[in-house]
Structure formats: structure tokens, C-alpha cells
């Protein structure tokens, strides 16, 4: 049931139960173009969208969670290999990427705010900056991967690594590629989503009355940022103090 977010004009409808269906149906058809017909009000629709997106993010947490479970076990079992593997990663590039991605989260929040307050040009601009930062992240990632390729550090048939812990380092790197690869895939999808939203903003679809897609895209983008906030220390900062290796 919508709770309090309904537009004030729709008094006496849902939640109060006195009006057996007339009145608000007629009103509903002088409605906002974004209102879908199975919803009574924009408020109800917005609440449904918001809850839906949060539940989707829950599924994403569990999705990445399986990888975190595997990571945790093997980090406990193979601390030396984990140290060796992590030290092979470029902390500078990882750090820059972290700053870039957190920055893109700020710009995304600003984009949502601009949509919320009705500034169309600002919305588009903030979205474009967010996308540019996202692209920067992916480009840096590409170079990191390429470097790994050159060193034959990609797990599989051509894997080569020095030292007695090589098989366990291969597990570390398998998880590294699985986790960062999945993350990068999510960023690519996010990029697609943001382009769509930017296009919709360009076409003047959003207003303070309805900017839900921008907000939903924001939630998704922030989630992708949060995953990286965990990936960075888990992968890049395992043993920089050389306790194990």
C-alpha cells in the first residue's frame, strides 16, 4: 500500500477505503504520461520501482557473495599465495580506479539531484561525467588485464608463475579475474543504462514529478561502486606490509 507519498490531490483513494472505485479512476486518466495503467498513482509506481530495484540489488549481493565465499576460504588456506598474487597487482592503478569510481558515484548522486530539482541540462551533464569516469575505470582495467596477459598470468592453459605456490596463486588469479571481470561486466551494463537515461533526459522526459529512472540508475551505479570498495582491499591490499611474502 502506498504510504504517504501519494500526491495530495488524490485524497480519499487507497488506504482509506471509503471510495468504491469511482472518482479516482476518472482522475487517474488525466494522468502523467509515465503512469502505467496497473498502478493507481505515480507515488505507488515510484514505491514499487524503488522496492523492486532494492530487491534486485539484494540478488546482486548474493550473486557476488558466492565469489566472496570462495575467496574467504582460500585466503585462509593459502595466505602466502594470496600475498604473492596480490603483490603482483598494480596498487597505483587500483587506487586511481577507486578514486575514479567513488568520484563517479558523487557525480551520479548529483545527476539524480539535478533531475529531482528539474535541471535538465545539469542532469545530462552530470550523467555524461559519470559515464566518462566509468569509461576511465574500464580503460585502466583493460590495461591491467593486458599486462597480466603479457606476463602469462591469466589462469588456464598458458599460466606461468614462479615459485612453489604457483598453483594456489592460480586460484587467487582465477578469483581476481572472476570478481573484477564480473564487476567490469556490471559496469558495462551500467554504462548502457546511463546512456539510455541520458537520452531520456535529453528528450525532456524527467521532471521533479517523475524522475524515477534516474534514481534507479543511481541505485544500480552506487551498488557497482560498493562492490569495488570491497574488491580493492580484498585483491590489491592483501599483504603490502610483507607479513606473509
Amino acid at each position: 500500500m502506498p504510504n504517504g507519498h501519494s500526491i495530495a490531490a488524490h485524497a480519499g483513494d487507497l488506504g482509506h477505503g471509503h471510495d468504491p472505485g469511482h472518482g479516482h479512476d476518472a482522475h487517474a486518466h488525466a494522468h502523467h504520461p509515465a503512469l502505467q495503467h496497473h498502478f493507481e498513482t505515480l507515488g505507488q509506481q515510484h514505491e514499487a520501482s524503488t522496492l523492486g530495484m532494492w530487491i534486485f540489488l539484494v540478488t546482486e549481493v548474493m550473486f557476488f557473495g558466492g565469489l566472496f565465499a570462495a575467496y574467504s576460504l582460500y585466503r585462509i588456506w593459502y595466505p602466502v599465495a594470496w600475498a604473492e598474487g596480490s603483490l603482483e597487482l598494480d596498487i597505483m592503478l587500483g587506487g586511481i580506479n577507486t578514486i575514479v569510481l567513488i568520484g563517479s558515484s558523487v557525480t551520479m548522486a548529483m545527476a539524480v539531484r539535478s533531475a529531482q530539482t528539474g535541471y535538465r541540462k545539469a542532469t545530462i551533464n552530470w550523467l555524461l561525467v559519470t559515464m566518462a569516469l566509468g569509461l576511465t575505470f574500464l580503460v585502466i582495467k583493460f590495461f591491467e588485464y593486458k599486462h597480466k596477459w603479457d606476463l602469462n598470468h591469466i589462469p588456464g592453459a598458458n599460466f606461468q608463475f614462479e615459485g612453489p605456490h604457483a598453483p594456489h596463486v592460480e586460484i587467487f588469479l582465477s578469483l581476481y579475474f572472476a570478481m573484477t571481470g564480473l564487476h567490469a561486466l556490471h559496469m558495462l551494463i551500467g554504462f548502457g543504462i546511463l546512456s539510455t537515461i541520458a537520452w531520456m533526459a535529453y528528450k525532456n522526459r524527467f521532471s521533479p514529478e517523475w524522475y524515477t529512472p534516474v534514481e534507479m540508475a543511481g541505485l544500480y551505479w552506487h551498488f557497482v561502486d560498493i562492490v569495488w570498495i570491497f574488491l580493492f582491499p580484498l585483491l590489491y591490499l592483501v599483504d603490502r606490509a610483507h607479513h606473509f611474502a
Binding site: 507519498h5 500526491i7 505515480l42 507515488g43 515510484h46 514505491e47 524503488t50 522496492l51 532494492w54 530487491i55 540489488l57 539484494v58 549481493v61 548474493m62 557473495g65 558466492g66 566472496f68 565465499a69 574467504s72 576460504l73 585466503r75 585462509i76 588456506w77 593459502y78 596498487i91 587506487g95 578514486i99 567513488i102 568520484g103 558515484s105 558523487v106 551520479m108 548522486a109 548529483m110 539531484r113 529531482q116 530539482t117 598453483p167 521533479p208 514529478e209 517523475w210 524515477t212 534514481e215 543511481g218 541505485l219 552506487h222 551498488f223 561502486d225 560498493i226 570498495i229 570491497f230 580493492f232 582491499p233 580484498l234 591490499l237 599483504d239 603490502r240 606490509a241 610483507h242 607479513h243
Partner: protein, 137 residues
């Protein structure tokens, strides 16, 4: 539809806090805290994530249901990690020298001091040359 409009200054302050925390996490990583490095790094990450969730994702200004959903996600993730890892951590506890389970036997062939499990549950896994786990009969 009116959501809560946060002031720009809030977003910039949170960004600042996140940058500081990133610097801290990198800095602390170079200090040898032994076994503490991992929990410290995770705690900082959790703090950063909390800031993003509360302020960038507006969870602070959202309904109770939203907060419940967010809590639920982390609760079930916690279940997955804990109940799986506690299995591994508790293998070899109080196992007799001959071993009563396959887990005990594997540990025995590997351990440097002749098969006595270290108290506290750290289990040395088999090296790749050893057999994998024996499937139950």
C-alpha cells in the same frame, strides 16, 4: 512525487570522507599488523559502503521496508560466509590421532608435527600432490 533533496554540500562531504578512508586503507595496508590487517581493511570497506548506502543511495531517508531489505541482504550474505567457513575452521578439532573422519586423516598426513591438530582450528590444507577429498561411502 517528492523525495528528500539532499544539499550538494552533503555529497561533497561524503566524497571527502570516502577519499580520506581510501587513503587510510592504503596507508594501513603498508603497516604490518599481522592478522589484524584483514579485519581492519574490511572494517574500513564496510564503513565506506555504509556511507554510500546511507547518503548516496538515500537509505537514511528511505522507508523502514527499504532498510529491512538492505539489512536482509547483508544478513543472508553473512549466513553464507559464516556457516560455510565454520565448517572448514572446525575440522580437526579434538580429533583423535588416528582420526575419526576423512577430514582428520587428511590433516594428519600434512601437518608438520605428526598429526596433532593445532587448537583454534587453523587447518593446513592438502598440497596439490595429495589426493582430493574422499567422497563418502
Amino acid at each position: 512525487m517528492s523525495g528528500h533533496v539532499a544539499p550538494k554540500s552533503l555529497y561533497y562531504s561524503i566524497f571527502g570522507a570516502l577519499m580520506v578512508l581510501t587513503a587510510v586503507t592504503v596507508g594501513v595496508a603498508f603497516i604490518n599488523l599481522g592478522a589484524l590487517n584483514f579485519p581492519v581493511a574490511i572494517s574500513i570497506a564496510v564503513l565506506k559502503a555504509t556511507l554510500v548506502i546511507l547518503f548516496f543511495m538515500h537509505a537514511k531517508y528511505s522507508s523502514r521496508l527499504t532498510k529491512l531489505v538492505i539489512g536482509g541482504a547483508f544478513f543472508f550474505l553473512f549466513l553464507l560466509l559464516t556457516l560455510t567457513l565454520t565448517d572448514y575452521m572446525s575440522r580437526g578439532w579434538h580429533t583423535s590421532p588416528r582420526g575419526t573422519t576423512t577430514a582428520g586423516q587428511l590433516q594428519r598426513t600434512d601437518a608438520p608435527n605428526g598429526g596433532v591438530a593445532p587448537v583454534g582450528g587453523h587447518v593446513e590444507p592438502p598440497s596439490p600432490v595429495q589426493e582430493g577429498q574422499v567422497e563418502g561411502h
